[in-house]
Structures are given as structure tokens and as C-alpha cells.
């Protein structure tokens, strides 16, 4: 081992030890102090009841599959629409100017409204028109609300990706005789999409969480199911169990997005 490596190894051991000790102290404080709070027994009984947890967990997991399903069918629509809006906003053809305006208004509008509000407006408003089955389904209109919001975000992310591709790439393609369309399709977009994968991963994590908002308009997905259990058992533990299920999905996904982001940054530096 070189002198330098030995020194760095020693520094690292020291840092690890300090981090370990300070973590232990904080943990110990939490474990000792929290139970001393006057309401702790009541909170533990209504939020961290092991029996209730075990009892509701399988049903919540089953309900969560509905969240996953709504997520799964929303994602392709979100990306297709997001891409269409991004391209509409980027086109320079004067004949298609209305499309550009439409894209800009769309993005401003649906990024500007809180998701939950849109879920209410679309999810209650449109079936309220008295549409025949199945067009009055809250699944359809809840999904529409999510797709409207998230496609607006994805459109902006894609557009920033497209604009981040250096003009020299476009020039090289145009000079080879490629049309504007082929240049976008074969040269710009593939690079732009790759570049915004991490940002879109974070978007997907947010979407997975926001699917739970559909519980407000009917579908018995995990949040709604937890609410039913709460009323049934007069206990809040089902909500904690639901949170645990969400974390099992969102934490690895967020970590993966961070990993991609770091890899991308390393590759570019």
C-alpha cells in the first residue's frame, strides 16, 4: 500500500466510526425519548398495531395492484401525448403555428392545476354529463386526469432534452441531406430521450404516488382500501401499512433514478 492509500484508508475508517457513533446516539435518543411522550401509548396502539398490520397487509397489497395497473396503462399514454406536445411546441412551420400555441397553452394549463383538483374536476365533472356506461367510469376519467397532468410535465422534460442537443448535431444531419423530420427522428430525439431518462424516472415515481388520488373519485385502490379498514377497525395502522407498501416501490425507483443521473453526469464530465 502506498503512503497515500494508507493515509486515505485511515481517514476513511475514522469517518466511518464517527458516522456510526453519531447515528447510534440519535437512534438511542429517539428510542428513549419518544416513548416518554405523554401520548405515545395511544399513538402506538392506533398507528403501529402489529396485529392490525398483519391482518390488513395482504388486502392492501391486493388493492395496490390496482394502483399498479392504473399506473401501467397511464404511462404509455403519458409518453405518447408528452412527445406529441413537445414536438408540437418545437415545430417551426408557420402553417402549424396554431399547434404551437396549443402546446404552450396545454403545458401551462395542466402544469398549473394541482393534480387532485384535476382529478376532481375531470373525475366528477365529465361523468356528471350523464354519459352511458362504460363512459361514466371513474377509471377512465381518473386516468385522463393523470395523463393530462403528467403529459404536460413529460412534454417539458422532453423539450428541454431536445434543446440540450447541440446545434452541430442538427447541422451535421441537415448537411447530409436528411429532412428536418428524419433529423428529429433519427438524430435529435434518440439522444434527447436518453438524456432525460433520469428526470422521467422521477416523474414516474411521482405518478405512482399520485395514482392514489383516484381514491377520491371511486376506485377502491390502496388508499381507499386503507380508509375502509380504518373505519372498520377504528385504527390508523392500515395507513401506515399503505405507506410501507408505497415505500417498497418508490424508494428503489428513486435510488435507481439517482444512480442513472450520476452515471450520466460522470459520463459527460
Amino acid at each position: 500500500m502506498t503512503r497515500r492509500a494508507a493515509y486515505e484508508a485511515q481517514q476513511k475508517r475514522r469517518a466511518n466510526m464517527i458516522a456510526g457513533v453519531s447515528t447510534m446516539i440519535v437512534l438511542a435518543l429517539v428510542i428513549v425519548l419518544v416513548p416518554l411522550a405523554p401520548g405515545w401509548e395511544a399513538v402506538r396502539a392506533s398507528f403501529f398495531n402489529g396485529e392490525v398490520f398483519v391482518r390488513v397487509f395482504p388486502d392492501l397489497l391486493r388493492a395496490f395492484m390496482l394502483d399498479v395497473a392504473i399506473f401501467a396503462w397511464s404511462v404509455p399514454m403519458i409518453f405518447a401525448l408528452g412527445l406529441a406536445i413537445a414536438l408540437a411546441r418545437g415545430n417551426a412551420n408557420p402553417a402549424l403555428f396554431p399547434l404551437r400555441i396549443f402546446g404552450a397553452v396545454y403545458v401551462d394549463l395542466f402544469r398549473g392545476i394541482p393534480v387532485v383538483l384535476l382529478v376532481y374536476l375531470v373525475g366528477f365533472g365529465i361523468p356528471g354529463l350523464g354519459l352511458p356506461r362504460p363512459w361514466n367510469s371513474p377509471y377512465i376519467w381518473g386516468t385522463v386526469a393523470l395523463v393530462l397532468t403528467y403529459s404536460a410535465y413529460v412534454a417539458e422534460v422532453l423539450r428541454s432534452g431536445i434543446e440540450s442537443i447541440h446545434a452541430s448535431q442538427r447541422n451535421a444531419a441537415i448537411c447530409l441531406g436528411l429532412s428536418e423530420r428524419d433529423t428529429m427522428r433519427y438524430v435529435i430525439l434518440p439522444q434527447a430521450i436518453r438524456r432525460v431518462v433520469p428526470a422521467n424516472m422521477n416523474m414516474l415515481v411521482a405518478l405512482q404516488k399520485d395514482v392514489a388520488l383516484l381514491s377520491f373519485i371511486g376506485p377502491v385502490e390502496i388508499l381507499r382500501q386503507a380508509g375502509i379498514f380504518k373505519s372498520l377497525l377504528a385504527n390508523f395502522t392500515p395507513y401506515v401499512a399503505a405507506a410501507v407498501i408505497f415505500l417498497c416501490v418508490t424508494v428503489p425507483a428513486t435510488r435507481y433514478a439517482d444512480y442513472l443521473l450520476n452515471k450520466d453526469r460522470d459520463a459527460r464530465s
Binding site: S168, Q169, N171, A172, A173, I174, C175, L176, G177, L178, S179, D182, Y186, V187, P190, Q191, R194
Partner: protein
């Protein structure tokens, strides 16, 4: 003299009120190799980019085989196949293999797969073993040769080359210059902006010295390098000789 392949007549070009090209006249004969020399900022790149319509000119004519391609509104699409251009910074598409970089435009524009022709080009320029690699797996010299092959795959009659060795480590310059020697032997019409004075002297049919947006002096390499007439030319050649 045969009809020129490319003629410029009174070409001017400004960027934000700064006139970068101030009336350029030039004739390039078929098969001729013209080297553009001049200080950085003298307008060489801009001139090359005006020759294939990548930059629209403000005024004047750019005649390709007698047709004015600088006319506002002229459809440059078909013209671009006839004039290849290679840039200092290669500008390969990083998400495609070397082969796909070359094959994209023939496939989309000419509608031909051209596999054998492209493989022959790679083989000819010593890159047969590198076709399946991505640009970031190739050295600078190899990348630049791929960029030349990419332009050649469209079967251009004229090649514009903008300081294509300037971004390369010195030991890689030679392999790219060799490519140009072979193109010259093929009779390709070429306009080459370069800082490689000894190469210009060796291969050019004509050397054009640009200074502040005008052609300050032009002539055979022998004349320009051995017996420059203008003070500005003498000064520039002294500055690069150092």
C-alpha cells in the same frame, strides 16, 4: 478552363451587424483542390458554410454547376447530397455505431442500403475493423475518418473540409491527411480550410489567403508560400512559421 464547379460572386455575410464576409469572388474548377488559409476569425468557416447553404448569404451568388443555390427560398435538400462537408469537431452521432452513422443518410435520402459500398469505404480508409464501434470507442483520427466516410457515402461531387485536423492530437493528423491525399488522387473537388501549411503546400492546386472577410491573395502554393506579394500575407505566413 472548364466551367467551374462552384462559383461565388460578391458573397457577403454579417452576424449581428459585423460583416464577416465582405464580398467574396471565387471559382473552383472540377477536380481542383483549394486550400483556404488565414488567421482565426478571418471567415474561412463561414465561407465554407455559405458554400453549401448551411449559412444563408446576405448578398451575392453561390453558383453550383451554374445554378444559384443562394437564391432565397431555393430548395437545398437535393444540393446537400452533392456537396459533402466535414467539420473540425467531427459531429458524429454518438448514439449510433460508425456504420450506422455512415448508412443513415444513404438509407433515408437515397433509399438504398448501400452495404457493400459502405463496407468498401471503411475498408479503403483502414477502418474495416471499427464499423461496429460507437464514436466514443474510436480515437479522434478514426472518428474524423468516419466523418469523411459519412460524407463520401452520399457520393458528393464536392467536399468542403473545415480544419478537420485541428482538434486532433499531433500524432493523429497524418492519418486524416492521408485520406485527403487519396481523395485528391480520385479527382474529388475539394475546398479545405487548414492550418497545416506544409500539407497545403504539398497538395493544393491553389491557395487562397483570407483576411478579415476578403480574399487578400491567391495563387499556386509555390507563389503564395515562396513569394507572397501582400504585406498581410507575408505577416500571416511569418506568424504561422514561428
Amino acid at each position: 478552363m472548364p466551367d467551374p464547379r462552384l462559383s461565388l460572386r460578391g458573397v457577403t455575410k454579417s452576424f449581428d451587424d459585423v460583416q464577416v464576409l465582405r464580398g467574396i469572388d471565387m471559382d473552383i474548377a472540377p477536380g481542383e483542390m483549394v486550400c483556404l488559409i488565414g488567421a482565426s476569425g478571418s471567415g474561412k468557416s463561414t465561407l465554407l458554410r455559405c458554400m453549401n447553404g448551411l449559412e444563408p448569404v446576405d448578398d451575392g451568388e453561390v453558383l453550383l454547376d451554374g445554378v444559384d443555390i443562394a437564391e432565397p427560398g431555393f430548395d437545398l435538400g437535393p444540393i446537400r447530397q452533392r456537396i459533402g462537408i466535414v467539420f473540425q469537431s467531427f459531429n458524429l452521432f454518438p448514439h449510433m455505431t460508425a456504420y450506422d452513422n455512415v448508412a443513415l443518410a444513404p438509407r433515408r435520402v437515397l433509399g438504398e442500403e448501400a452495404r457493400e459500398r459502405i463496407e468498401a469505404l471503411f475498408a479503403r480508409f483502414g477502418l474495416a475493423d471499427h464499423m461496429r464501434k460507437y464514436p466514443d470507442q474510436l480515437s479522434g483520427g478514426q472518428q474524423q475518418r468516419v466523418a469523411v466516410i459519412r460524407a463520401l457515402a452520399m457520393r458528393p461531387q464536392t467536399m468542403l473540409l473545415d480544419e478537420i485536423t485541428s482538434a486532433l492530437d499531433p500524432e493523429l493528423v497524418g492519418e486524416v491527411l492521408d485520406v485527403l491525399r487519396r481523395l485528391r488522387d480520385d479527382g474529388m473537388t475539394m475546398v479545405l480550410a487548414t492550418h497545416e501549411m506544409s500539407f497545403a503546400r504539398e497538395v493544393a492546386d491553389r491557395v487562397v489567403f483570407m483576411d478579415q472577410g476578403v480574399v487578400a491573395e491567391e495563387g499556386t502554393p509555390e507563389r503564395i508560400f515562396s513569394d507572397p506579394q501582400r504585406a498581410r500575407t507575408q505577416q500571416f505566413l511569418r506568424s504561422v512559421a514561428r
